[in-house]
């Protein structure tokens, strides 16, 4: 009898633990899902000079997730002025965005990289008698974040970065790093380099930089998927940023906005005298050295990865809006034009800075404005 009661008691307490444990677990879970948004708390100037004309209806767009926060910020301002337009931007990724645009599902696509020649050729189908063009609208620095306790300032150059991400420099107290940081107390911790496990425009631009600025140290082809062997990976910008935060010795690359909560970023040693910090202004300076390489109305840019100007931060990402030069769908043309006119305007570009993005330099954005005005 006694024995049985004891058993029952034990069973009861075991069960209680199971119940409370599982409840705690589900409670944790629901917390996680709700905390996803944020990063777009900008001050809205109630009325920017936005011309709605006769724009109305649904404006569907999709593509690059890198410009999602920018579009969200713009939409907040734009929708107060033009209440008849419902803008819906779906951050599916550049590739999926371009596909959706080519199939005529969306009015424009957001893309982290300019259209390839074969994509322009393919666009002739959806843009009757015309073709698709790239309009640079959003720039941004790609920051290199690291987690090395006791090191608050870290200077690296392109070749060292390339070797770190290619698994050739393995510890933080490596000579090459020490040479660039004579005053820092570098620990002997293993370097844990993280890259994106999903295909991403950020990876594309980051590897383009490594290849462009240190071709001898980086032998892999740049691309949306990581080509180097070795290294660890995580899903999405928030994934890699999270890993940097929780893993000692970690280093990774992501858009600057992900570095905002307590992640140290690397200062880049360029051909200029002083190492350059990853800031919005410094990125703008580097983008202003870009050349327009698109033909005709196409404003695709080629970035300069070896700037010599002081304070130009060369690891940048320029994202484009992709749409038809002529032959856009009649029912969304007015809304598209009105929205793009706003985001290319001075007010629109100023919104970017408040959201850790870099505005497009004046010379290029004025060309964008002319092109937007001529869309049909």
């Amino acid at each position: 009898m006694k024995l049985q009661r004891k058993n029952r008691l034990r069973a009861l307490s075991l069960g209680a633990i199971a119940v409370s444990g599982a409840l705690a677990l589900t409670a944790c879970g629901s917390d996680d899902t709700s905390g996803g948004s944020g990063g777009s708390g900008e001050k809205t100037n109630a009325n920017a000079n936005i011309k709605c004309d006769d724009a109305k209806g649904q404006l569907a767009a999709s593509g690059s997730s890198a410009q999602k926060n920018a579009i969200d910020a713009w939409r907040k301002v734009y929708s107060t002025a033009c209440k008849d337009v419902q803008l819906n931007y779906n951050p599916t990724g550049s590739g999926a965005g371009i596909t959706a645009f080519m199939q005529g599902q969306t009015a424009f696509a957001g893309s982290d990289s300019a259209l390839k020649p074969e994509e322009i050729e393919a666009s002739k189908k959806v843009c009757k008698n015309s073709q698709a063009i790239d309009l640079p609208m959003v720039g941004g620095p790609i920051a290199v974040g690291y987690n090395v306790p006791g090191v608050d300032n870290l200077v690296l150059d392109a070749a060292t970065l390339a070797k770190i991400f290619d698994d050739k420099i393995k510890t933080w107290d490596d000579e090459a790093i020490q040479k660039l940081n004579p005053d820092a107390k570098l620990p002997g911790t293993k370097i844990q380099a993280f890259h994106r496990s999903d295909e991403s425009g950020t990876t594309d631009n980051f590897t383009k930089y490594l290849k462009g600025a240190a071709p001898s140290a980086w032998s892999h082809e740049p691309g949306k998927s990581w080509q180097a062997k070795g290294g660890q990976s995580a899903n999405g910008s928030s994934g890699v940023a999270g890993q940097v935060k929780q893993t000692e010795g970690a280093i990774s690359y992501f858009e600057l906005s992900y570095a905002s909560d307590g992640i140290n970023t690397v200062d880049l040693k360029t051909d200029a005298k002083e190492p350059v910090k990853a800031t919005v202004d410094n990125a703008s300076k580097a983008i202003s050295e870009a050349k327009v390489v698109g033909k005709g109305k196409d404003l695709a840019l080629e970035l300069n990865y070896k700037p010599t100007a002081e304070g130009a931060y060369p690891i940048t990402l320029v994202t484009y809006e992709v749409l038809c030069e002529k032959g856009n769908k009649a029912e969304t043309l007015a809304a598209t034009k009105s929205f793009l006119t706003y985001i290319a305007s001075e007010d629109g570009q100023n919104v970017l800075k408040e959201n850790d993005y870099a505005p497009i330099p004046a010379e290029i954005i004025s060309k964008v404005r002319t092109t937007v005005a001529g869309l049909s």
Partner: protein, 343 residues
Amino acid sequence: MDIPSSTTSPTSPPPRHDVKPSQVTPKRAARGATRPGDRIFLGLSRGSGIALLVIMAAIAAFLTYRAALALSDNTGNFLTTFEWDPAGTATNGKPYFGIAVLVFGTVVSSIIALVIAVPIAIGIALFISHYAPRRLATPIAFVIDLLAAVPSIVYGLWGALVVAPNLTGLYSWLDDYFGWTGIFSYQGGAPRSLMTVGILLAIMILPIITNVSREVFLQVPKMHEEAALALGATRWETIRMSVLPFARSGVISASMLGLGRALGETIAVATVLSPSFVINASVLDFGGGTFAQNIASKFNEATEYGRDALIASGLVLFVITLLVNGAARLIIARRKEYSGANA
């Protein structure tokens, strides 16, 4: 008597201790279909059955068609290449991809999940069906159902933010004592490995295995258990001699249901794993990948062709799942005679 396990679903109601399976055979019901109600019901159920086959055939046809498009241009060996580059970034635009790493990762992580989950699930199910008092059994069964209701992305976030960072200690310990096997050697690095994925998958498939096993344990004829008790068997001996043999095939099919979920789990794996196209002998080191994770990671930015390549890998997963289910059916069919159900 038929084996009830294959028809019970994880959402079935909490323990029914005294309800016996109905004795009506399907044959009789079909022959009596003369009234309109019967005919309509027959049509509806037959339609559902046919719809299932049509949907499966449509999926298979779609996968095969798109996969054929991708495979005809692949310059790598689809089965043995350790690379996923359908865009041909490194090879001047020539697609080069293969599934070797994905097969390995999918199978290994699922096996780890089963090895961890099945014993625990059987334990929970036995506790609910044979040990726990009724007023405790019901809430536990409820909590298990709750576990099944948590979306997999939440498991993924929990795994990546809470579980994985806390596994370093365990992995170092495993490395110290079992590192010599090669399977459990640990180089350091964030513990985002196939083992971590396996542990997470184990938690995710626990509810389905538990629920089905519990139902099966409750179906064990009372006579068997009473006979064992009458022979002087202890409770554990009763379970070993009468409950487990009877329930074996049911537990196997429960495990296969769980395995099916583990094989196909997508977003939780993509969040927790640190994927790369290498095969590690050690399950503790980062790297590897699974079919579903790879599709989820690559799909958004993939070109039209890249998507076809991903679909080709999806076809392989489809086939693997089919094989696993077939094997499970075989095992169940063979065990049927020994289950004691005919006694």
